[in-house]
């Protein structure tokens, strides 16, 4: 069961409280009534389904009720970061490494020695 950090509650909570809501950063065109079939297809139907980092929306449905965005690795299910709706896509390379990033046993012991 995943742990998800709600950027509004500013707390890590259990996956049970959340609902996934599909890809993030897909804005509904403001002139949607006029767009072409191809543009509508791209907006509504086409998704990348990446193996690796995905930017997606979550809702803290059994908590504060807010929608927010997350960057998650679809292979490891690790959340790289979460951020409030409306904020731009974060630069993941600039994210500080947390203690939870991949490490081997030897590295862990070395870290302890330091």
């Amino acid at each position: 069961m995943l742990l998800i950090y709600c950027p509004y509650c500013e707390e890590e909570r259990s996956e049970l409280e959340f609902r996934n809501a599909g890809d993030a950063h897909i804005a509904r065109p403001t002139n949607i009534a006029e767009i072409t079939d191809e543009e509508f297809e791209a907006y509504f139907f086409l998704r990348d389904n990446p193996k690796g980092v995905i930017f997606e929306r979550w809702r803290h449905i059994h908590g504060c009720g807010r929608f927010f965005n997350a960057a998650r690795d679809t292979v490891s299910d690790r959340f790289l970061t979460t951020y409030q709706a409306g904020e731009p896509k974060p630069d993941l390379n600039a994210q500080p490494k947390t203690s939870a990033t991949l490490e081997t046993y030897d590295e862990a012991l070395e870290g302890a020695a330091q």
Binding site: I32, F67, A100, L102, E103, Y105, L109
Partner: protein
């Protein structure tokens, strides 16, 4: 005497404390603390089961969770019976009944043993190839036969009378395994001040120290140190010690599932205790101290009862005080097995021989064997065994050929070395790496916040294990934020350093042979089956596994995986790391359904939602139907009435007099704010700015793809306040859908959404006398047609309590929907009923509501629509605004497929024979004589007997339906074909005058 093989003075059980149990009807005596396995061996019983496929006699192989053979049926009473219990794990209690499985008529004489003679026909993949044709025979003949012949135990038939508990908990450090490594790590973490949980599957802490008699820790015998340390830990406030507790699953973000067996070892059950307790632990750090599992040797006929793992032989002797035989042989590729010989010899048991397939065993063990006078044959192998129901002899030959020699034994202890238990590490999605020097997979890349220590990390030396464990314990505690000062120092020493180990087939079971050298005992997979799989073209380890079923039994290949892999690698001519290991999955050992299902059974399986009037409805004898989680009154049968009669009476009464209906389950959302109308303009297809306060409008909600998502009546209470209703089942998703657009697409709108479904009780009063019924109860609202016309709303009081009174109708009659705060629901209902009943009105349920609305052609979203229906398809074009610049679905509606001709459209159907009621879901065709497959035009979505029309009525989705009005179509059924005429959807009061009465 608790068994002929019990050795006086050996083991740790108390001779005076006995327990009696039965095995296949025979009463036996055990000691308290025995497992079923140790008690059986103490009574000289090795034969405990028949194998899965060949029905070969099988005995107890191990002394732990990895046991593949000794699966027994254990019961306490008729309802408390569990099949497939591992005899090596289940503790004996006084009065328990144990039976063997998969044998008929008896364990010693099993007819299925015939399969062993036919085994040339049962090669790997046999089932896939042989039982293909004819196809029908699979269900009728092959599968039932195979299931009966190749069975495990029989599931109990009675409901489980026990209860199960579930707990969530958090800790800084979770230590899995309470052997030397786990205990030392827990101690270090606890002294550093961390909140620690340590669990172990055995009844006591100690792990390998149960059998490893030569180990010294902190100057004490290892087992003694372990018990003292376990007690010390249990006495610390920041530590929880859980024994009889298996960590069965390692899930995301350090979420680990443990199952604690609470009462399965007790003679008398305390009914206040749960049988098992599921612990769902979220740990900041996990320390894996799972140890290692000994492998068996792979040689011809290596599965006879009496052939066991060497460490199991030591466990039975050193812990349970039981000798596995009187004349014991050893067959080893690893030094650890020698210590079994030493222990037995010192306990006075005859050791026939140590056969070692290696030329050069460890020198220390060799010297000790000599000094104890035990014959050691190095460079030799066991190439065959004899014995029908128990091993009687081994045939030993020099490697590479040479004179074979037969040696009589009544037990054979084997060891091919140790496989580190990387199960949980692998479940955590960690990547294992192959250590070529020691031929084993070890934890490589970590994916979660855990550390492996001790034997499961490939650390062999005891002092190294202790040092590693102490470091890991303190590291984990510090990383989790513990700031205590305590430090731990410990010393430990093994009696002997161990060397050696092999994987794959031993001498005499190589590629040039066809002997039965078992690698997977539970699924009867032999070395030759793996080779056959490779010859048949299976080159991936995943394919080989599935073709042979190696490692797919309930023991999940704890003993067999490495052997199978080595043999496959050899046959493929590849290295072991290139062939690769199959993934370990949860659960580590089988988990009962009881523990998983836990409290969620019976009435607690799913919550039932009840309306404020539920008790009244129940008292009136209503039948209920489930609508999402709601219990809704379905119909109210009077004495002697069946459903059809009750519904017919209710339908007539509503139209002739009036009816009262509980509509509380309708979803209700309060939409408030200066931009509320703007927001509804975007969420619904029609316009809301021009709706005056006090008036209502029917709205259709689409998804952006243009399909109908929900519908409902919306009342405007003020400029900035709307009372939105949704379908009963749609309430949560409609609010979610609205929130989604409000928060992420239209965040500039000043609107607030609140679910009020459970705040309002809704009493629908429908029918010609509706106004007369409620009028005397209402204060402050003019109920006249002029002041409160159809589709309007007013606030006032009813029976002295506040109400939002809607003039609306889902029946086509003059109607009101009385909304009152939920707590007043039943009282207001009873007041209305007190007026309605004497006038001849009735209470009606959802079935009548369905019939009445269908008579009027009102659709139900989700019944008459299915997620591919547009408002135009549903005949609701009038609800779609042509002037608005935007609403959700505006662009979707223009998609080429949504505007093209021939789409399925909602129409009415009148059967030619008015008495015939169509089946909902029935298919519709134009030409009943068309050869199959016929062209399906659509299907019936709603169908009822209409008492008010005196005929059947139906709604249907039909391709090009609106252009087919008046046409005759056909509904082919299994026994007849029904002719129908396509019509409009309104069957009753076409002019709609009754609404305004």
């Amino acid at each position: 005497m608790s068994g002929v093989n019990r050795i006086s003075g050996a083991g740790r059980l108390t001779p005076a404390r006995t327990a009696r149990f039965t095995f296949d009807g025979r009463t036996l005596t055990a000691l308290e603390g025995d497992t079923v396995a140790s008690a059986l061996i103490a009574n000289d019983i090795h034969l405990v089961g028949r194998s899965f496929k060949y029905h070969r006699p099988r005995g107890i192989l191990s002394a732990g969770a990895e046991e593949p053979n000794a699966l027994l049926d254990v019961s306490r009473d008729a309802a408390r019976r569990q099949p497939n219990v591992r005899a090596t794990v289940q503790e004996v209690f006084d009065g328990m009944n144990v039976s063997s499985q998969n044998r008929w008529p008896s364990l010693a004489f099993d007819v299925g043993g015939f399969n062993d003679l036919l085994s040339p026909f049962f090669a790997a993949g046999f089932y896939y190839k042989t039982f293909m044709w004819p196809k029908a025979a699979w269900h009728n003949l092959y599968e039932p036969f195979i299931r009966r012949a190749a069975g495990l135990g029989v599931a109990p038939t009675e409901p489980d009378p026990d209860h199960y508990a579930s707990r969530y908990t958090h800790c800084d450090v979770l230590v899995v395994g309470a052997g030397v490594a786990g205990l030392a790590a827990a101690l270090a973490a606890a002294k550093a001040g961390a909140k620690v949980i340590i669990c172990d599957e055995q009844p006591e802490v100690g792990g390998a120290l149960h059998y490893d008699s030569g180990t010294v820790v902190d100057g004490k015998p290892g087992y003694t140190w372990a018990q003292e340390t376990g007690k010390a830990l249990a006495g610390m406030d920041n530590v929880t010690v859980l024994t009889r507790t298996t960590a069965f699953g390692y899930y995301n973000h350090n979420f680990v599932g443990l199952v604690e067996r609470v009462t399965d070892h007790l003679a008398a059950i305390d009914k206040t205790l749960p049988r098992e307790r599921l612990w769902q632990v979220r740990a900041k750090k996990v320390i894996l101290a799972n140890g290692a599992i000994e492998r068996h040797m792979v040689f011809a006929n290596n599965d006879r009862p009496g052939i066991m793992l060497a460490s199991a032989g030591r466990t039975y002797l050193n812990h349970f005080g039981v000798s596995v035989g009187k004349q014991v042989g050893i067959y080893a590729a690893h030094d650890s097995a020698y210590e079994a010989a030493f222990d037995l010899k010192k306990a006075g048991v005859a050791v026939a021989v140590i056969v070692d397939c290696r030329e050069r065993p460890g020198e220390a063990v060799l010297a000790e064997a000599r000094s104890l006078g035990i014959e050691v044959l190095t460079g030799h192998s066991v190439v065959n065994t004899t014995g029908k129901l128990r091993i009687a002899s081994i045939t030993v030959a020099r490697n590479g050929g040479g004179g074979a020699r037969k040696i009589a034994v009544d037990a054979l202890l084997v060891s091919a070395g140790w496989t580190p238990s990387v199960h949980l590490f692998s479940q955590s999605r960690g990547k294992v790496k192959f250590d070529a020097a020691t031929e084993r997979f070890l934890p490589g890349t970590y994916a979660q916040d855990c550390l492996s220590i001790g034997a499961c990390n490939g650390t062999d030396d005891l002092q190294a294990t202790i040092d590693e464990a102490l470091a890991a314990g303190e590291l984990a505690a510090r990383a989790a934020g513990a700031e205590g000062g305590g430090q731990v120092a410990l010393t430990g020493q093994n009696a002997f350093e161990w060397t050696g180990g092999m994987i794959g087939a031993a001498e005499g079971a190589g590629p040039d042979t066809t002997v039965k050298a078992f690698i997977d005992f539970q699924h009867d997979v032999c070395a030759k089956d793996i080779r056959l799989a490779v010859r048949e073209g299976m080159h991936s380890v995943e394919h080989i596994k599935r073709f042979t079923t190696n490692g797919m039994a309930s023991d999940q290949g704890k003993l067999s995986n490495m052997h199978g892999l080595a043999i496959a690698a050899e046959a493929l001519g590849k290295g072991i790391p290139e062939v690769g290991l199959t993934t370990f999955r949860q659960p580590y050992t089988p988990v009962t359904f009881g523990a998983i299902v836990n409290h969620s059974r019976g009435s607690l399986f799913d919550p039932a939602r009840k309306t404020p009037m539920h008790a009244w409805e129940e008292a009136q004898g209503a039948e209920f139907e489930d609508v999402s989680n709601w219990k809704r009154a379905w119909f109210y049968p009077k004495a002697g009435e069946n459903m059809h009669e009750a519904v017919a009476r209710e339908c007539k009464t509503v139209r002739e007099v009036a009816g009262v209906f509980d509509a509380s389950t309708l979803g209700k959302i309060e939409v408030v704010g200066p931009d509320a109308a703007k927001f509804l303009n975007l969420m619904y297809t029609n316009a809301w700015d021009n709706l005056k306060p006090g008036r209502c409008r029917y709205g259709i909600m689409l998804r952006d793809d243009g399909f109908v998502y929900d519908d409902g009546v919306v009342g405007r209470l003020a400029e900035d306040r709307f009372h939105v209703t949704t379908t009963t089942g749609g309430a949560p998703r409609v609010l979610h859908h609205m929130e989604d657009y409000l928060q992420t697409e239209f965040p500039h709108l000043k609107v607030w959404l609140t679910s009020t479904t459970e705040q309002w009780a809704v009493i629908a009063v429908q029918g010609p006398k509706a106004r007369e019924i409620i009028a005397p109860l209402v204060e402050g609202i003019d109920l006249s047609n002029e002041a409160l016309p159809h589709m309007s709303v007013a606030e006032g009081r009813i029976c002295g309590v506040p109400t939002r009174l809607f003039r609306m109708s889902f029946t086509g009659e003059l109607g009101f929907e009385v909304n009152v705060p939920a707590d007043y629901g039943q009282a207001v209902w009873e007041a209305i009923w007190a007026r309605a009943e004497p006038m001849g009105a009735c209470a009606y349920g959802t079935e009548t509501m369905h019939v009445l609305r269908a008579e009027k052609g009102y659709i139900i979203v989700g019944q008459d629509t299915d997620g591919t229906v547009t408002p135009h398809d549903a005949g609701l074009s009038w609800v779609v605004s042509k002037k608005k610049p935007d609403f959700v679905g505006i662009r979707g509606l223009k998609r080429p497929d949504l505007v093209k001709d021939g789409r399925k459209q909602l129409v009415g159907l009148r059967t030619k024979d008015p008495k015939v009621v169509l089946e909902e879901g029935a298919q519709i065709v134009a030409d009943p004589n068309e050869p199959k497959p016929m062209t399906m035009l659509g299907h019936v979505t709603s169908s009822y007997w209409s008492p008010n029309c005196g005929r059947s009525i139906a709604l249907a989705l039909v391709a090009g339906g609106q252009a087919r009005l008046g046409q005759t179509l056909y509904v082919p059924m299994a026994d007849r074909t029904i002719a129908v005429e396509v019509s409009d959807m309104v069957f009753f009061d076409k002019e709609g005058g009754r609404l305004h009465g």
